[in-house]
């Protein structure tokens, strides 16, 4: 089998995932997954609970080592990079974790300003200013000195989003950015994601179950099913997909090929 070479990557492609496999014991989560993300594009990954969406983005940012396959970021193959090199690559990324993953020993402002503190020479005052600005972007005010344990679920999510965007990264990975938010706040976050793309040309991968948000923020939508991306297309293409699995999922029907276990 010919190996995919670097020269095959189109200049427009920022993230390329080829034949990605990842298993946990006998649980074969990803089974030869392919995905390409173009520069400045917002791709939404949808798929059932436990299909491996979080595993996919953790592989992309190097938190999980794939069993097989390759991942290219900006033309560089990072799949088997060591910690030091991964560290450099990760500076291009911001990641919103599904459950926030806020540092619970630090107040909100230190959480959001963590990257700035670690990787820049900014003074605490300057960091606090940037933090306040990022918090305002996610619709939060006056929470700087609260501890994560004092926040509600939705607030945690938004603080975590603020932390992800604080360093103004090139690539953003959102793991369910709107889950647990009220409909209005969810829309604020959708708008923010769109703005980040339009104003800062951020490339992003967003995981979501919320189809409304998927249609709104996605330039393209990719459906993950049984370890592979079974369909990629613009929101309209996905809405009109002929694939029954996709149709069942986006319409949220309990009857269909997914539940019949095909």
């Amino acid at each position: 089998m010919p190996k995919e070479g670097q020269q095959d990557i189109k200049p427009d492609t920022l993230i390329m995932v080829r034949d990605l496999c990842k298993s946990f014991g006998s649980n074969h989560v990803l089974q030869g997954l392919n995905l390409e993300v173009n520069r400045g594009e917002d791709i939404v990954v949808i798929g059932g609970s436990g299909t491996g969406k979080s595993v996919l983005i953790k592989c992309i940012i190097g938190l999980l080592k794939p069993d097989r396959g390759t991942i290219y970021i900006d033309g560089e193959e990072i799949t088997y990079y060591n910690e030091a090199k991964l560290n450099e690559i990760r500076k291009k990324f911001g990641m919103l974790f599904q459950f926030g993953a806020l540092f619970d020993s630090m107040p909100v402002w230190e959480n959001v300003g963590f990257g700035l503190k670690q990787h820049t020479n900014l003074k605490d005052d300057e960091i606090r200013d940037i933090v306040a600005e990022k918090l305002a972007m996610v619709g939060l005010k006056g929470v700087e000195y609260l501890m994560p344990s004092e926040l509600s679920g939705g607030m945690k999510k938004r603080v975590s989003l603020a932390r992800a965007i604080a360093m103004e990264p090139e690539i953003l990975l959102y793991d369910e950015p709107t889950t647990g938010l009220d409909p209005i706040m969810a829309d604020v976050i959708n708008e923010l994601i769109i703005q980040l793309r339009e104003k800062l040309r951020v490339t992003s991968i967003a995981i979501t179950h919320d189809m409304k948000s998927a249609y709104k923020i996605g330039d393209r939508i990719a459906m993950l099913y049984k370890g592979k991306i079974i369909e990629v297309g613009t929101p309209d293409e996905i809405k009109n997909s002929k694939n029954e699995i996709v149709q069942q999922f986006i319409q949220g029907k309990s009857e269909g090929p997914i539940t019949r276990g095909e």
Binding site: I61, L63, R90, F99, A101, D104, F114
Partner: protein, 256 residues
């Protein structure tokens, strides 16, 4: 029978694997210590946690240990009229053995458990992944400060334990049992050699390293929610206590 050997074999393999991983973490930690910058704020916070907050337990432990040592050696020594040497026995036992070992066990129970629980919780709530994602090495950020704090604070605690233990012995022997105060103090000093103190402090440093390395390792390798954190905490305390006791013998044998 085959099953038994299978089981034994897998146990041995797991033991070797685990020791290897702990050694690896230890080496990585050493490497990160020498890569600037050092996060002084975190180190100071950990020193407070490991050191200052351990002082009460260490004090109580050492004063009662010194007291019981004096009481027991009085009972024994009176039989051959050697009461004058109670001071020597208390001081040497405290400085060479009981000070470091008991402090080590106390600190592994208090601090080791806390380290494993905190880092374990961070592991299962993806906070350690979040550190990686923020391009920060968790060994540098989390383990190095704990390691340095334990390494530097343990000897201080042990010196404190030694002094308080000796005072405890003095109180029982002189005030309670009425032996001669001047002789007690003189016999404490006369037979104490610098080497005794060195050995004790060397042990303290090594125990500090053992506690920090094992507890941080257990924290980082925690899997599976609250239950996992509980298991990691238990393992951290049991394992570091055992290794303290075992290595204590070998250090003593080497120094003999």
């Amino acid at each position: 029978m085959v099953k038994f050997f299978d089981f034994l074999g897998s146990l041995v393999i797991r033991f070797i694997e685990e020791s290897g991983r702990i050694m690896l973490l230890f080496i990585k930690t050493l490497m990160w210590i020498f890569r600037p910058p050092l996060n002084l704020k975190n180190i100071v916070r950990q020193m407070e946690e490991v050191g200052v907050n351990s002082i009460p337990v260490v004090l109580i432990m050492s004063i009662f240990t010194g007291m019981v040592l004096a009481l027991q050696s009085y009972t024994a020594f009176r039989r051959f009229n050697a009461e004058a040497f109670i001071g020597t026995v208390v001081a040497l036992s405290m400085v060479r053995e009981l000070g470091p070992v008991l402090s080590g066990l106390m600190v592994s129970g208090r601090v080791g458990a806390a380290m494993a629980a905190e880092l374990g919780t961070m592991q299962v709530t993806e906070q350690i992944d979040a550190l990686y994602a923020l391009a920060t090495n968790p060994i540098k950020f989390l383990i190095v400060p704990r390691f340095l704090a334990a390494l530097f604070v343990m000897p201080v605690l042990v010196i404190l334990a030694d002094i308080i233990g000796i005072i405890g012995g003095y109180l029982v022997s002189v005030i309670l049992l009425g032996t001669n105060s001047t002789i007690y103090i003189k016999r404490t000093w006369d037979y104490m050699e610098l080497e005794d103190i060195y050995t004790g402090l060397l042990k303290a440093c090594i125990f500090g390293i053992i506690i920090a390395t094992i507890s941080c390792y257990q924290g980082f390798s925690t899997r599976g929610g609250a239950e996992g954190v509980g298991k990691a905490t238990t393992r951290a305390v049991v394992l570091s206590s055992l290794i303290i006791l075992i290595s204590n013998y070998f250090i003593a044998a080497l120094m003999f």
